[in-house]
């Protein structure tokens, strides 16, 4: 089978899975839908492996293969095909996506057990995987936009999965609206590029751009930034930022944690939010010719990683901590691909997928043990009751904090290395990156220590005794509303990893990935990812896979030290410092109270830097006011009263005036007749 046939199969299996589970909704008993969904994605993974092997069989400069299924719109000026592009970048992405998705589907079979929306869940999840694979396999802007939009729709469906919770539906709407903003940016960016290159196909557009479609361009230090290209790239960046939850379009991601935990793990950690990174990597020929846009991306990525890191320090909902950690790590990736560290950024994408999905899965396990409760304030001492989950958390946490030999270390440090080597003002980004790494270690281990160390809480003690805690009355963890376990609300079962084999298998495999994935790209030793991806970046001037030695040693040591320092600080505050009688941590309190500006900073972080309030003030309220104005004043007064009322009033007055002639008095009519006769006679008399 040819490479592109594998590519089409990769798309076909999840689509088939969706359709079977959707249409067979009533026919599939028990957990069959779950196994069907998992099998569909596993088959897609196998097809992706097939594509990989087959692709590597081609010569290295023939590894960008386009295959078109049919011609969508082929007229004057536009030629849009249903085509996929199978090249190392897309194969890399589909391997990551389908691999991690298979494990998450497996996990979900246990997690969503007995939920009345079980079949619907797997249908949506398969649809999501299909959309994401479509996005990364797209060979032209058209399919990219289609995949982009589908992914947004799937995200909305899955965030609002427990649709009877108002918090979930509101979160879904928020996510969708911000995503649509990104979609608009993407489409407008596509327009700019189409205007100059005249084609929607990726490879043709890139060739045209490099051949001078936007005018004479020079990369590097003397770069000229053609206006339309910069505008187009910045619009594409808007799309990337919305999808990848970067500042300022990031406010939807913490709210998106309303969805079930496997959804958060798949969509909002491993795959959908990385679409922005993929976009920048794919569009690298355009970005390299518009360094201004690249700089925007780098700055925003750096800002996000810092801000998200600080917010993560103050959050108390376990899933939100991991969400902000995701935001921060994606900031690294965006920064990486914006400064030209394509292989490093994508490598970090892969390792991040592994350990972030693992962390979310483990968090789901803890939430199950807590009977649905998500607040760190109520957790503690689960170490003895949930050893497997604890181990997964530690592995994931170490990988996230960048401790060697875990995978996160290699990928994150390589990004920062390439950033530093770019020189110039990128040193600021280098420093920011390490500060962010410090924060990462602190908040990650804060979360782990708070949940697993210290005095076991009641739920933990119950679990040690062998009994899984169930709340008497199921409640919404966000606002404490009562709910029942009917469809639209979470089901009555709570699953934990220690008791569910599918969950353990999935988490175990991810843990292996989190530990071992780094080994494929150890600096100076092996360059599997770099070499694999090189054909995709053949025309890139910034793709320098083999880093120089000088900064390398400093960077590696610095990374390790900072990570260990962060863990040490967290240990000091949250374990050694201990808990006081009311459950607060005295050392943390002390830092907050006594450091100058500590209280103010804490308030800033807890309130997420007031982004939600700012958006509300700047965007939501003016629009609501405009809408109210339109409804009350414009619509009522102008349209209803003046335009419509005026027209009907004129007609009514006219007909009333005419109607007055029908008085009903016969005499009146006779008089009119006589008047008419007299008038006519008068006229004729005058004539004569």
């Amino acid at each position: 089978m040819s490479t592109t046939t594998y590519g089409w199969l990769v798309l076909a299996f999840p689509l088939l899975g969706t359709l079977i589970t959707a249409f067979g909704f009533r026919l599939l008993p028990g957990r069959t839908a779950g196994w069907i969904g998992t099998a569909a994605i596993f088959l897609a993974f196998l097809a992706a492996l097939g594509a990989l092997i087959s692709l590597q069989g081609h010569a290295s400069d023939h590894r960008q293969i386009v295959s078109s299924l049919w011609s969508y719109a082929s007229t004057v000026g536009i030629d849009a095909q249903m085509s996929i592009l199978v090249d190392p970048l897309s194969v890399f992405m589909i391997l990551v996506v389908s691999g991690v998705s298979t494990l998450i589907h497996l996990y979900s079979i246990s997690y969503m057990d007995k939920d009345r929306g079980f079949v619907r869940y797997f249908s949506y999840l398969n649809f999501f995987v299909f959309s994401m694979l479509l996005l990364v396999l797209a060979g032209n802007f058209l399919l990219l936009i289609v995949g982009w939009a589908f992914v947004g729709a799937a995200s909305y469906l899955l965030i609002s999965f427990w649709y009877r919770r108002t918090t979930a539906t509101k979160a879904g709407i928020k996510a969708f609206v911000i995503n649509v903003l990104g979609d608009a940016g993407l489409v407008l960016g596509t327009y700019f590029i189409f205007k100059h290159t005249g084609t929607l196909d990726f490879l043709k557009a890139f060739h045209a751009t490099e051949a001078g479609a936007f005018g004479h361009t020079v990369t590097g230090a003397n770069a000229t930034n053609p206006g339309d290209l910069v505008a187009g790239c910045i619009l594409l960046l808007v799309g990337a930022f919305a999808k990848s939850a970067q500042i300022p379009l990031h406010t939807w991601l913490p709210d998106a944690m309303e969805g079930p935990t496997p959804v958060s793990s798949l969509i909002h950690a491993a795959t959908m939010v990385t679409a922005g990174v993929y976009l920048i990597a794919r569009m690298h020929p355009l970005f390299e010719l518009a360094p201004a846009a690249e700089d925007v991306g780098a700055v925003v990525g750096a800002a996000t990683l810092l801000i998200a890191g600080t917010i993560g320090l103050a959050q108390t909902d376990i899933k939100r901590v991991i969400a902000y950690s995701t935001m921060s790590q994606i900031g690294y990736m965006i920064m990486g691909v914006s400064v030209g560290a394509y292989a490093a950024g994508l490598f970090h994408l892969m390792t991040h997928a592994f350990f972030k999905a693992l962390l979310f899965m483990a968090a789901g396990s803890v939430i199950g043990a807590m009977g649905g409760e998500q607040s760190l304030k109520k957790m503690g001492g689960f170490r003895k009751a949930m050893p497997f989950t604890y181990a997964c958390f530690i592995i994931g946490g170490l990988a996230l904090s960048g401790i060697p030999p875990f995978s996160g270390f290699f990928s994150k440090d390589e990004i920062l290395l390439v950033t530093g080597e770019r020189g110039g003002w990128h040193w600021a980004l280098y420093v920011v990156g390490y500060i962010g790494a410090f924060f990462t270690a602190v908040y990650t281990f804060r979360m782990i220590f708070r949940a697993f160390h210290g005095e076991p809480v009641a739920e933990a003690r119950e679990l040690e005794a062998g009994h899984l805690h169930h709340a008497d009355v199921p409640r919404n963890p966000a606002n404490g509303e009562e709910e029942d376990t009917d469809v639209g609300f979470p089901g009555p079962n709570h699953a934990i990893a220690e008791r569910a084999l599918p969950m353990r298998i999935a988490m175990g495999l991810l843990a292996l990935g989190a530990v071992g994935a780094g080994l494929i790209q150890i600096p100076k030793v092996d360059f599997v990812v770099d070499d694999f991806l090189r054909p995709s970046f053949a025309t890139s001037k910034l793709y320098e896979p083999h880093t120089k030695g000088g900064l390398l040693a400093i960077g590696l040591t610095l990374g390790t030290l900072i990570g260990l320092a962060g863990i040490g600080l967290a240990y000091r505050i949250w374990i050694v410092g201990g808990r006081d009688a009311e459950g607060r941590f005295p050392v943390a309190e002390a830092i907050r109270m006594r450091t100058p500006g500590g209280r103010a900073l804490y308030k800033l972080f807890v309130n997420k830097w007031y982004f939600d309030e700012a958006i509300d003030l700047l965007v939501v309220r003016p629009m609501a006011a405009a809408g109210a104005f339109a409804r009350d004043t414009f619509e009522r007064v102008f349209v209803d009263d003046t335009l419509i009322g005026g027209t009907t009033g004129i007609v009514r007055a006219g007909s009333a005036a005419v109607r007055a002639a029908q008085s009903g008095f016969v005499r009146y009519y006779a008089a009119l007749l006589v008047l008419g006769v007299a008038g006519v006679g008068f006229y004729f008399l005058l004539q004569a």
């Binding site: 008095f665 005499r667 006589v674 008399l685 004569a688």
Partner: protein, 215 residues
């Protein structure tokens, strides 16, 4: 001689017309119209249209007016005098159109009269200042029944037939309109007078004497 006759008849005509318009009692109006019609017949005779004059008296004054007399006797109805009418007195409902129109009506009529006079007399036709075309007396001369009959059955046959058709329709229509329909609510409602109830003799109430006004 014919001038004197003319003036007498003309005065009769106009007086009758004025009487119809002015007189309060409709019955007197009918009588005035009869006088008007007879004077008009005389004028027709002066114009040598003996058949039409005869038809006028027999049909118009004779049949139509008799019909009118019957209906007026049945329906009756008082009308106000012209003075009251012009002032708009005597009507129960607000007489906006009524009273204004009475005055305006008179004005309009005068205007119409002036126009017509100018039109008819100020016309450029010289023939109107003559006495008419020449007249040759004879059995089928102008205006005789033979003459009219001849015309009716030759040149104006269609008109004749249509007119008779119209008469038929009119007769049927008149009967249909005015016929008595069976059922309730047609005539006077039954008025229950207390006197209808048999009373024991010797009660001697006022009702027996005067009657009740509960109708």
């Amino acid at each position: 001689m014919s001038a004197v006759l003319f003036f007498l008849a003309a005065i009769g005509v106009i007086a009758g017309a004025i009487g119809v318009v002015v007189l309060r009692n409709p019955f007197f109006s009918v009588l005035a119209l009869v006088a008007h019609l007879v004077s008009l017949a005389v004028l027709f005779l002066l114009l040598r249209s003996e058949f039409v004059a005869a038809v006028q008296v027999v049909v118009y004054a004779g049949a139509v007016m008799v019909l009118y007399v019957f209906v007026v006797a049945y329906v009756g109805g008082e009308s106000d005098s012209i003075g009251e009418r012009l002032r708009g007195v005597g009507s129960s409902q607000p007489p906006q159109v009524g009273s204004g129109l009475r005055f305006g009506g008179a004005i309009l009529g005068v205007a119409l009269l002036v126009e017509l006079l100018i039109a008819l007399i100020g016309t450029g036709l010289e023939a109107t200042s003559g006495y008419g075309a020449g007249y040759v007396p004879g059995p089928k001369a102008f205006g005789t029944p033979a003459y009219i009959g001849n015309l009716l059955l030759t040149r104006f046959l269609l008109v004749f037939e249509l007119a008779s058709f119209l008469l038929l329709i009119g007769a049927v229509g008149g009967v249909v309109l005015a016929r008595r329909r069976g059922g309730i609510g047609e005539d006077e409602p039954e008025v229950f007078v207390a006197l209808d109830v048999p009373r024991p003799l010797g009660t001697g109430t006022t009702v027996e004497g005067v009657g009740s006004r509960t109708a």
